[in-house]
Symmetry: C2
Subunit: 139 residues, 2 copies
């Protein structure tokens, strides 16, 4: 499930950018900028947090990466996919699953249009407790 993350056609390749892009291409879940930074450090790529942010900003602008704003105001980043999708997030472990359903897409556009709105977009996130977390401790 490799996705071409290099919209950086006109960007210079550096040790840092290569490490970051490679890492992001392989990541399979939502990560905050700080997590990405920490992970890269853990695997030996000494990239500065500011650089991570600079690249994420650039990648988001180019559409290669999607941002997900969390309730606490922290942003998480995921490889962007061409198709629109939503996230199913476990309240306990934070694991994210992508979900998608054309019906919701159609419904939101329809409702918004009926209300006189144009240029419609939407953000939907579903929260719950995954089976693993429930099994280990429903508290």
């Amino acid at each position: 499930m490799r996705v071409d993350l290099a919209p950086a056609r006109e960007s210079r390749q550096t040790v840092q950018s290569r490490a970051l892009l490679t890492f992001l291409a392989q990541a399979d879940r939502c990560l905050t900028a700080q997590e990405i930074h920490a992970q890269l450090h853990r695997q030996g790529s000494g990239i500065a947090l500011a650089t991570v942010y600079r690249w994420l900003t650039r990648l988001v602008r180019s559409g290669a990466v999607d941002v997900l704003m969390h309730d606490d105001g922290e942003a998480t980043y995921v490889r962007g996919s061409d198709r629109h999708h939503h996230h199913l997030v476990c309240r306990s472990c934070g694991r994210v699953t992508e979900i998608s359903e054309p019906m919701v897409e159609r419904w939101t556009v329809e409702v918004a249009t009926r209300a006189g709105f144009a240029d419609v977009s939407h953000a939907l996130t579903v929260f719950g407790t995954c089976s693993a977390c429930r099994g280990s401790g429903p508290s």
Copy 2:
């Protein structure tokens, strides 16, 4: 369309809290904490920003007010209602319309359950440009 914003049964009434609650009860659109603070000052109620935040936090916890996280990480607040609903927000003027649709409710629960999730909840916000804003300047 007045909504009882006083979940503060067990709270003391003060000049500030009364001004804030009255203002919120009349507000018909999403407002940031800072906007609420500025508006209150404009109308002569010298309330501190920290107090605005403290009340908003309390009201959100009690369910009297809904939070809406924006892409830039800023939170906006609107009167909440008892029944579950979603928001249709104008990107330009910030006006908020409540929308609700059982189908979406059912779908999210179904998808989440199928994925092994329990105790499901969801957050859906639809963004668009309302007719008024479009008419005045589609840019």
